[in-house]
Symmetry: C2
Subunit: 362 residues, 2 copies
């Protein structure tokens, strides 16, 4: 059904799509290639959130009349009008292409096969499913957002060989190598927000910035019922403080909130923080609905990891293991039982190892 | 100094050498290639312990007069006579080769550079150090044996994602996948002996055999001061029982020893087993001197791992991690502290991961 040439063109769509990875979020990454008589006559990709779609760009960039051409696109062209840009299927039909090949059907229920159907009804030869697993992996954040209406959640846990994330609760332990730190900074850039508990802010005073990698600064989310922080915590004082969001309870001290707002950080009150136990589903709803956060990197500490794991609120778990034996300390997993993870991939990070698990399908 | 062709020929030596891996132990693996006018005119390898050396085989297999040829050999030709076969350097000299290229100098103090020196003095162009790291890795067991006068020690620890080797001390927990089990069987075949504590024999009743891989059955060593075992333990009753060696104390119950000998297993008394704490250095001396064991795979349980790790008696540690959270159990590392391991390589075993560490150089 699909030729080697088709595959090559779809891989080109993926490569083009990835160019938009930092700017289209929480939209999907999409690339498009127009081919006529075995030659590429136009390419395009979705460049930024709210900007023209990949197909539109490909037609605009076309060096020849696309009549009779094949349009490759990793995601089904859209057909719904309730959004920033006009639907793409009428454009594709008007350009008189002969064939459309896609990797994935758009999971958005407003599209989901209807775009392909419209083009078929217009007499275009439409084929889908080419390299669909790679396409789904590329846009795994978007697909998860559409399916679960929440951010894609990555837990990143760095631990010693004997399983401890630090020597004690109030002390930071630098575990990993420079290569591992660079990897973590790349992870941050790849997520729209990073999240830590207040205890981590107090113990580690982390910057949570992207210093050793290229990419945008994610929103820094810290959870705290008490709002007890050092005045000089880096996330309140550095040049990215407008990218800091404190989530607290509705019972929080109003004066403390005012102080934080005065520093230029954002504060949000969640309705259901009881006994310091955060209602994570409501938290995720706030991040997704109000802040348009499609992907969240959870960086600790132990209690936060435990809360997310207990509720199985995770999509990937990245375990960074460093060859040091601490003897004792805070275990990464606190008496948690279960078989809900499966291996995705492994990666050498200099002296350390990253083991990437994904949540098992039910 | 070395050409691409030289490298290719040395890699061919490594490939030939590996063919002897199960039969030459505890000798090194050695391959040899004779090249004249850019063509291979003879190849050979050390086939079995006590058999002819690789160089001898290469000359025997030569299809042309080797006068003026280059001899490639991964290990320095031997020049000492206190062993089963005659020294190789006089043969190499008598064959009038023009050039000899080796990867590694023989660490045996009876040779160690003297073989090369003799050939140089005979007017042969001698070069060493080609792909020497690969050569040292290939024969890491032999090099360690020569350097430390003890077996090469590999610890193999299979554990859950939260770091437990079993749910409790007296219960076996099947942790790993079929792919991981096959990997362990290959590891067994690659070692001359496997070792477990008596507790592991009682709790797991392991076979310690090579069922799911090709290769010879290693000697099965079990440590026990009390000699309390089930009569029906598989290592005493299966067809490999002559490959079972129990190491106990000199105070051990004579009647129990007689019973074990009656089953067809071997029993050895070590002089220094006090309070059930085995003197591992004496144990290793017995295995190396009396049983010619050049490589030992330590398979558990926790107390045995802890004893070897506490004394830093290990060369490699292979950690097999399976994505299950047990919540509680026996930790793989029992309050041990230190930074004495460095990452060697990682390997996917189906759903599991093997992380291979080597002991850091001091």
């Amino acid at each position: 059904m699909f030729s080697q040439f088709d595959k090559k063109m779809m891989r080109r769509c993926f490569t083009l799509a990835r160019k938009g990875r930092f700017k289209v979020r929480p939209n999907p990454m999409v690339g498009a290639v127009l081919v006529k008589n075995g030659r590429v006559i136009g390419e395009g990709y979705h460049r930024y959130f709210g900007g023209p779609h990949a197909e539109v760009e490909a037609f605009q960039n076309a060096t020849e009349d696309p009549t009779g051409a094949t349009l490759y696109c990793n995601l089904e062209p859209c057909c719904h009008a309730n959004k920033k840009t006009p639907p793409c299927t009428p454009l594709v039909i008007s350009k008189k292409v002969a064939r459309v090949v896609v990797a994935n059907i758009d999971p958005n229920p407003d599209v989901s096969g209807k775009g392909l159907q419209q083009m078929r009804e217009a007499g275009i030869q439409v084929e889908s499913g080419l390299l669909q697993e790679e396409g789904a992996e590329l846009n795994r954040v978007f697909f998860l957002n559409m399916k679960e209406n929440r951010p894609f959640i990555t837990l990143k846990i760095a631990r010693s060989l004997d399983g401890f994330i630090s020597e004690s609760r109030d002390k930071q332990t630098w575990l990993t190598s420079e290569k591992a730190i660079k990897f973590v900074h790349r992870l941050r850039a790849a997520h729209q927000a990073v999240l830590v508990g207040a205890g981590t802010v107090r113990a580690d005073d982390p910057q949570l910035t992207v210093r050793m990698a290229r990419g945008p600064q994610p929103l820094r989310v810290a959870l705290s019922a008490s709002l007890i922080f050092s005045d000089r915590a880096q996330i309140f004082t550095d040049r990215f403080r407008d990218k800091t969001l404190i989530i607290t309870t509705q019972q929080a001290d109003k004066e403390k909130i005012e102080q934080l707002l005065g520093k230029g950080v954002r504060v949000e009150s969640a309705p259901d923080l009881t006994n310091g136990n955060i209602n994570l589903r409501l938290l995720l709803e706030i991040l997704w609905q109000k802040f348009k956060i499609g992907s969240l990197l959870v960086e600790g500490g132990q209690q936060i990891f435990t809360n997310f794991l207990n509720e199985r609120l995770l999509d990937e778990l990245i375990l960074i293991e460093t060859p040091v034996l601490l003897g004792q300390g805070l275990p990464a997993f606190d008496r948690l039982r279960g078989h809900f993870l499966q291996l995705k991939t492994i990666k050498k990070l200099g002296p350390d190892v990253a083991i990437i698990y994904r949540k098992k399908e039910r």
